[in-house]
């Protein structure tokens, strides 16, 4: 429903980041290029190895659009 309100979400960019915190339930990461930080639940990150601070991660993301007036 909401996705229809965003106009540019199919313009997906590739980002990399560095893990800064690892907890039993969550992981925090800084996006490379000083583009901000994200904190996510652990189940939202797919990992081949045990998660550790300093590891690199990658993801695709669109720019964030304002959808309210």
């Amino acid at each position: 429903m909401q996705t229809h309100k965003a106009k540019y979400i199919d313009k997906v960019n590739y980002y990399e980041g560095i893990i800064t915190e690892v907890h039993d339930g969550s992981v925090a990461l800084d996006i490379k290029g000083r583009l901000g930080s994200i904190r996510i639940p652990k189940r939202m990150i797919i990992s081949d190895y045990e998660l550790k601070v300093g590891q690199e991660v990658a993801f695709n993301m669109s720019f964030i659009e304002q959808i309210s007036n």
Partner: protein, 614 residues
């Protein structure tokens, strides 16, 4: 790119499109055809039109009469003849991100004895004597030969065997009060004043605990995030969990909520804090029923411990101090107050299709954990966290599940998490337990670890467990979405590759679409109930309900009798569910009642801000 001969055989009914330029006079084979898997994208981007395209089965062996470029669909006037092997024209796609039970192919077989194949035809009626040996009598899914084929061949149909029974004695509660001691006086439950102090002292990480009693009249009350909803039940005498007699209090539930000292919700990401009446989807298997008296505990735990394993566990342990005291009072309650008895029988039906239920539970840590097999229903004592068990499969009897063998610390995603009460009345277990057409072997719980290698480790054990149990079909369920879908799909693969028919159940819809897949993920039931197909933070909204259980079991039966499941549509389409529900109702003659969704609740400010921005 061309496809393999084997792949072409699997896709005989898919449209035939050239993979490369081919000259007139070419005799068509799999070498000339494009992979149908990529057509959806090409069609949606306007690069390909499939109108009037013949199917792969219709063109294999035919000769091109025109020279055509790559990515051209093969039409009737482009070939010398249309082969008769497959059904005519491109079948309209039908099923969603979560495919569904629907079939139209005139083929049905069972048990390796009866095999019917009709290439093409109209108005064919087949009558096959029923009861050739039990088996699945009705597949449910409408097909030209739906049902009927129940021949089990030489499979011996033994006598039904009752393995164990469980009796639930219900005691009604009409009022909950605070008092000098914890006791039950008729239908009034008294909770001891000051019990909170003992509960807090029992756990180092718990700094505060408040108990309040919420009745129907004041459901419009603020609550911190709901960590769990639990039944109040206890074993009678020496009965072990899953057998004997269990006493349960009706119309009252325990609800655990909480934050850290500084007010961060335990469960942080996607929490259900807010007014109860706006954030709880009443009457879901895992939730309080509308009208239940809620004994709510609000805990405060040490800062920063909300995302560490000991934090949520300590909150559950402290709250259980109170529940345990009520359990002891319930044990003492006079039998005369028992208002009804319910008896569950675990029946094995040798000769019928043997099936298992695989339930994936969370095991990444913190609140993503479950305590398995406590001594008391949904208790703490005696249970082991599945994280400590390395998330390996644990087989439980269906009656152990219904007797509260899972104390859920409940994961994030309020809408899709299965709280402890869910297992107490798990619709999938109930549906399979009472189904006389199948032999329900047991419930396999498997945790979902964080790391991929561990995920594959446990899913291989799931496959091996199913193999050793010698089941013919399995239903795999999971809660929530995220990396747990990696192992969820792997469980399906491990089961499917052993020739066992398998149906998956998960919240998928728009937001939780599967991130991975394999060729065994062909039958899926979507647990979504939300209007927009999202995790809407309404407690229990997208959890497994009877309407999902009935679809899953019908789909599994259809698969086990050899009926194909239609391909999913490219995008999530809620209509597929309604079509399947209609189909099931028309075949069984019983209406399937659909549960309400978030639209039936007063809209919260939080929801308005987050989701209803119009």
């Amino acid at each position: 790119m061309s496809i393999s001969a084997e792949y072409a055989q699997e896709h005989l009914n898919d449209p035939a499109v050239l993979c490369c330029r081919r000259e007139a006079g070419t005799q068509l084979s799999h070498h000339d055809l494009e992979d149908p898997a990529i057509f959806d994208d090409l069609v949606s981007s306007g690069l390909l039109k499939l109108d009037g395209a013949l199917t792969i089965g219709q063109v294999m062996g035919s000769t091109l009469t025109k020279t055509l470029d790559s990515l051209n669909p093969i039409l009737k006037d482009c070939v010398d003849k249309v082969q008769e092997a497959a059904a005519s024209a491109v079948a309209p796609a039908a099923t969603p991100t979560a495919p569904a039970a629907a079939s139209s192919v005139t083929q049905s077989f069972s048990g390796g004895k009866l095999k019917i194949h009709i290439g093409e035809g109209k108005g064919i009626d087949l009558e096959i004597p029923m009861g050739l040996g039990g088996g699945v009598a009705s597949s449910g899914a409408a097909g030209a030969v739906a049902g009927g084929a129940s021949a089990e061949g030489s499979a011996a149909v033994g006598a039904e065997k009752v393995v164990r029974t469980l009796t639930r004695k219900h005691f009604n509660i009409t009022e909950v009060k605070r008092g000098k001691e914890t006791k039950i006086d008729g239908t009034t439950l008294y909770i001891r004043e000051g019990i909170e102090k003992e509960a807090v002292e029992s756990q180092e990480l718990v700094h505060d605990l408040k108990v309040d009693i919420i009745t129907k009249d004041n459901y419009h009350i603020y609550s911190e995030t709901i960590m769990d909803t639990q039944p109040i039940a206890t074993k009678e005498g020496d009965s072990e969990l899953g057998t004997g007699v269990t006493r349960v209090l009706d119309n009252v539930v325990m609800m655990l909520t909480g934050t850290t000292d500084e007010g961060v919700q335990i469960g942080e990401f996607g929490s259900s804090e807010g007014y109860l009446d706006e954030n709880v989807m009443w009457n879901r298997p895992s939730c309080p029923d509308h009208g239940d008296i809620i004994i709510r505990g609000t805990v405060k735990i040490e800062n920063l411990k909300n995302m560490e394993r000991p934090g949520p566990l300590a909150a559950h342990k402290a709250f259980d101090v109170i529940t345990q005291e009520i359990r002891l009072a319930l044990k003492e309650l006079d039998e005369k107050y028992c208002v009804s008895k319910e008896e569950f029988k675990q029946v094995r039906r040798p000769g019928k299709k043997k099936v298992a239920l695989v339930k994936e539970i969370m095991g990444q840590g913190a609140m993503h954990d479950n305590l398995i097999l406590p001594v008391e229903p949904v208790g703490i004592l005696g249970a082991h966290p599945n994280v400590d068990l390395c998330n390996v499969p644990v087989v439980c009897s269906p009656l152990e599940v219904l007797d509260g063998c899972i104390h859920a610390l409940t994961c994030i995603g309020p809408a899709s998490k299965e709280q402890s009460r869910h297992y107490w009345r798990e619709p999938m277990v109930l549906e399979m337990l009472f189904d006389e057409e199948i032999d329900f072997a047991g419930v396999i719980f498997v945790g979902s670890p964080q790391i991929n290698s561990e995920k594959f480790y446990v899913s291989k054990r799931v496959g091996m467990t199913c193999e050793a149990m010698d089941v013919e079909g399995a239903i795999v369920t999971t809660e929530g979405f995220g990396n747990n879908h990696v192992d969820f799909v792997s469980h399906i693969e491990q089961i499917g590759m052993r020739g066992i028919k398998v149906v998956g159940m998960s919240f998928c819809a728009k937001q939780g679409a599967l991130v991975v897949g394999n060729k065994y993920v062909t039958a899926m039931v979507d647990n979504n109930k939300s209007e927009a197909g999202i995790e809407n933070e309404i407690l229990g909204n997208n959890t497994l309900c009877p309407e999902d259980a009935v679809r899953a079991i019908m789909m599994l039966k259809a698969e086990m009798t050899g009926e194909p499941i239609k391909k999913p549509e490219k995008e999530w389409n809620p209509n597929v569910k309604s079509q399947n529900i209609e189909l099931i109702s028309s075949v069984t003659g019983k209406p399937v009642e659909l549960v309400k969704n978030e639209k039936s609740l007063p809209m919260s400010d939080k929801y308005k801000k987050k989701y209803a921005n119009a």
